[in-house]
Symmetry: C2
Subunit: 362 residues, 2 copies
DNA sequence: GGGTGCGATGTTTACGTCAACATCGGGCGG
DNA sequence: CCGCCCGATGTTGACGTAAACATCGCACCC
């Protein structure tokens, strides 16, 4: 089947009938090989790679030379087995390429590294329990010390089969109370956006919402509605997108045609960009005819035209907190069952909001 | 430290003075524990998890029940040690949250999963050899069967210390000839963009380039220049950004003030968005006054105003090819030293390009 | 000059799993 | 009715590493 580069013993030991189920990976040299070449015991080789100080420089040199000559590198399976830890955390994400997700992933990876951990990443196709379950199985079949789940929207604690004793942190509020969670302060963020628009003089604020099965989207809808009711404003009919710019554009066309729409709060920046295009196509100006507020503060938000007023999420902080909470459980065996970190947001006012003009009268 | 669930011998074996260096992770139940509870040998437990058919249903049930009761899941370090493979590939990326990167990562993760592999992700701060080296060390210190390096711009084959026998694939052309590589067809893409603008009647095309240390950016610069020369057009001075929308905006301000600029080819879409803003701020219209072409075709490109004409990269295909080439080496021990996959691109014409008007004459 | 203590190195063993081989028991053919 | 064969399960050993313990040699001190 394949060329045995380093086989020195009788070939039948590894070839022959057992070839199919035999070990796959390149069986590179082991400590024993290095030890033999350097004329020391394998334990000395081990010491060289873990604590060089404990070995006499002269011996160390010999061992290092042997390592280099053989191209030795330690077998991590064996190390992990020995140590009982992989120094690896699992990360389950959905739609990884989305802005918020990729930034959170970046932060998680970075925070993990700063603690000496690596990240094993699985991207689930759909946020259903079935898919998330499969991802969990795949990761525990791999080797992880803990698990971070980012926005597994439709999965619920009841439906998710997690291995016993596996520390978990989630960034989806649906799991709050069941697992430690990190969540953006959706309510305050939404409130700031809506109140900003009302303060500018708009009679009410339309909402271009995210999909129903998304917990953050749902929270934003509720906060938007409550905020309007608190202020005694009429609550206009809800418009739903799917987070994509396309959906913002398509649903935005209807909003653009409705002269009563003077202010729109979009559940994310991508949909706001889609709405921008719909408004532009209808010959409407932002913010003169319609004010727009987004959510997330993606890097491009500042460079849309006009620059988008939006609620900035601190994805970086989310990622860091996720890792912190997870490693707290991993290293200290702490039970954080209902711990909940709320990440603050900040309204960034740019050029897409202004007092209303009389659209209907134009 | 923690409750010893499965400890049956003297507690001092694991507690006491050795706690600091003792195995960390939850040493959950092993096959032996399950076997004891089910009243079978550990080999039978092993058979239940690897080949249930070989065990009598009655026995199987007992074992499964014991597994469930103890919350057993196989120790993958031991499995990996036994099999010689982790079914995991390492992935080194730089600036993970960038559009192209996150989409490539997504595709790699997905392709890896379809082959039954998991992805270990490391995001390097800078693309320098030092950082990439550290990432490689971190990953091989972990457990991987192969390594994918995405755009490690400034690292070069000579400076990078890769473990012997570790299969590698890169998506950076700087490594072509040293490792199998997957690269977007920068030259053709650039050519299409420039020729599209020239065909519309522009006298020449300015270029808003990516950073000097980026190999794709360099290739685009060279292709742009060669293309202009081939057509006998003047080659205007080069303008450099750093891929960010901000840099596109800042350098774009100068372009906007130069009346000889009628067409700009931007090295990516983000910088094109920044340029849009600079042009808008100067009261210039796209494409009436200045035509703009981007590169990448990010999801938002279609929803900028006007929709951006751009060169679409197939990040998904890149990811798939990376994994294919890597696993070919991993599973077949093939030497692909100078294999090189070129991923085609496609010019997507939208609303940001048009024949030139006489800017200077306005 | 004979401990004595310490630094350097070797030996043993366990980590958890699974392939290979061993064993055991029952059904079936001769 | 005996023996053979096969299916089900048990036993042994090896994967590569590193902790724990053992050993060896040497310098230093009384």
């Amino acid at each position: 089947m394949r060329v045995m580069l380093t086989e020195d013993g009788p070939a039948t030991a590894r070839d022959g009938a057992t070839a199919v189920t035999a070990p796959r990976g390149r069986p590179g040299p082991s400590m024993a090989d290095v030890a033999a070449l350097a004329g020391v015991s394998s334990q000395t080789v081990s010491r060289v790679s873990t604590d060089p100080e404990k070995v006499r420089p002269q011996t160390r040199e010999r061992v290092l030379a042997a390592m280099a000559q053989l191209g030795y590198s330690p077998n991590n399976a064996a190390r992990a087995l020995r140590y009982g830890s992989f120094e690896t955390i699992g990360l389950i994400a959905h739609r990884l390429a989305r802005t918020g997700e990729s930034r959170t992933v970046e932060a998680v990876v970075e925070a993990a590294r700063s603690h000496g951990y690596t990240v094993s990443l699985v991207d689930v196709q759909s946020p259903s329990s079935t898919d998330v379950d499969a991802a969990v199985a795949r990761l525990t079949h791999q080797a992880i010390d803990g698990l971070v789940i980012i926005r597994a929207e439709t999965a619920t604690p009841a439906t998710l089969a997690l291995p016993a004793r596996l520390p978990v942190v989630v960034s989806d509020s649906r799991f709050i109370g069941h697992h430690p969670a990190v969540a953006t302060d959706q309510t305050t963020g939404t409130r700031q956006a809506v109140e900003h628009l009302l303060a500018l003089g708009h009679r009410t604020v339309h909402h271009l919402a995210g999909p129903e099965d998304s917990s953050p989207a749902q929270l934003r809808v509720e906060a938007w509605q409550r905020c309007l009711e608190d202020q005694g404003r009429p609550v206009p009919p809800l418009v739903r997108g799917d987070w994509s710019a396309r959906s913002g554009y398509e649903t935005g066309l209807a909003l653009a045609r409705d002269p009563s729409v003077t202010a729109v709060f979009c559940a994310n920046d991508e949909m706001a960009a889609g709405l921008y295009r719909a408004l532009h196509e209808q010959g409407l100006r932002v913010p003169d005819d319609v004010s727009v507020v987004g959510f997330d503060d993606i890097p491009l938000a500042e460079y849309l035209w006009p620059p988008l007023t939006t609620v900035a999420q601190d994805f970086h902080l989310i990622g860091r907190l996720l890792v912190d909470l997870l490693l707290q459980q991993v290293t200290e065996a702490t039970d954080l069952a209902d711990h909940r970190a709320l990440v603050p947001v900040e309204l960034v006012v740019r050029g897409s909001t202004a007092p209303p003009s009389d659209r209907a009268g134009r």
